[in-house]
Amino acid sequence: MEREIICTSCPMGCHVTVTMEEERIISITGNTCARGERYARSEITNPTRTLTTTVAVAGGGVLPVKSDAPLPKKSIPQYLEKIHEVTVEPPVLIGDVVIEDICGSGVNIVAAQNVI
């Protein structure tokens, strides 16, 4: 079986073909760099995404936040739910941890903007 994956590691968007035999990856072709192979492999086994959204700021407005490492794609709704419960108190600086180890994933949700 063949699966076509569009690599999103960079704006090149290489069309990578992954040939599978049952659950096993036989070959990966079409990528133009090593990141393409890594990406295709992870898309097949455990697709991940960096999560970006906002949390409420006490006193009004929102603060952009992001996961400091990619999270499993399938659990994104669960992470979003958790993030939406949070309200932060200013001051917050870029990189400050807003939620530590979200849902036991080992990944932190950090501030992506300064609010003073």
Partner: protein, 421 residues
Amino acid sequence: MKTIDLVVIGGGPAGMGAAIAAYDAGVRDILVLERDHRLGGILEQCIHNGFGLHRFKEELTGPEYAWRFEKELRERKIAFRLDTMVLDLSEDKVITAMNAEEGIFRIQAKAVILAMGCRERPRGALNTPGTRPAGIYTAGTAQRYINIMGYMPGKKAVILGSGDIGLIMARRMTWEGAKVEMVLELMPYSGGLTRNIVQCLKDNDIPLLLSHTIVEIHGKERVSGVTIAQVDENRKPMMETARFVECDTVLLSVGLLPENELTRKAGVPMDVRTSGALVDQRRMTEIPGIFACGNVLHVHDLVDYVSEEAEIAGRGAAEYILQGSEPDPNPVTVRPGNGVRYTLPQRIDRAEDTTIFFRVTDVHPAVRIRVKAGEETVLMRKRPRVAPGEMETVRILGSKLQGYMGQTLTVELEEEAEHGT
């Protein structure tokens, strides 16, 4: 009237990058004028990641990318003024601006860098028939509501146009609990980056309907739905395919226009293809001392390219201020040929290593990019795939340019497959 060596109009990525580059090239008397209440421009509302892959080799969010530049600006103690609107720019580089503290004031600049960015095409530019209810936004307006102000613009949306902001907003609305019914694209291909089609639409099972448009918007006070239809090869709706889609929100992502009101006021000659100024390789317009960079010059798909261009303009302005410079009477003219929509710069007035940025008119697999002088091939490059949504570049060495001063270089596409163009 106050005199300042370099005034930069706009404090987004282009303006900040240009100011920093000019400072590093030796200019000290710099002022950046920004109309918003913070620096960063449109990056402030682009909270998704993917910025800076080329430049910083990591994936930053928009505000993080902007912050890296703001920090550098502050470290150099480059002056900037916020909440300040520039009202006028004259040919002799007099800037009229206003803010709440100083009222209206004028500055005589030695050099000016235009970095005002671009604006979205609104509904009025499309002439979409129907009623005029609430719930119709440009994608960028909705983005500002959600990401800065914290308001949701609607619950059930149809997005017209598959430009990057539309794709990003499809995911953003979904993640914030709205239902995005579909994204419609008039053209047979998407205008957005591939990564956005994958991560924003495919990931969230949002259908992308190519060769489709909205033929009518319904609703009295609030949008109640849209009639959509497929279009033929001449982009005319085929009414037999028309169907009603219920929604309370319509987002438009149908193109960006460089915001060149000030450029035109100053009488700067424009390029109808880019809707920006005609510039040389330093990004100097045809008025000596007035430079332009970023989305005001031509719409970029990646901010990394904006930063690169801003540095070119900043260094160019510094050279103009510190050394003066005479335009070469014998420049190279660069123009688009077959399959190419525009090229930039349009003029190269010195034989130095130059990157020509260009956009193609259609999607092509496997093409050759040929730069010609008359019938002579100056250089040729292969590309596995080109698309109008993704900016292309070709670099020509100064040693090569030397032989073509005073001539016209044409950038064109040649298909590798058996299909002729």
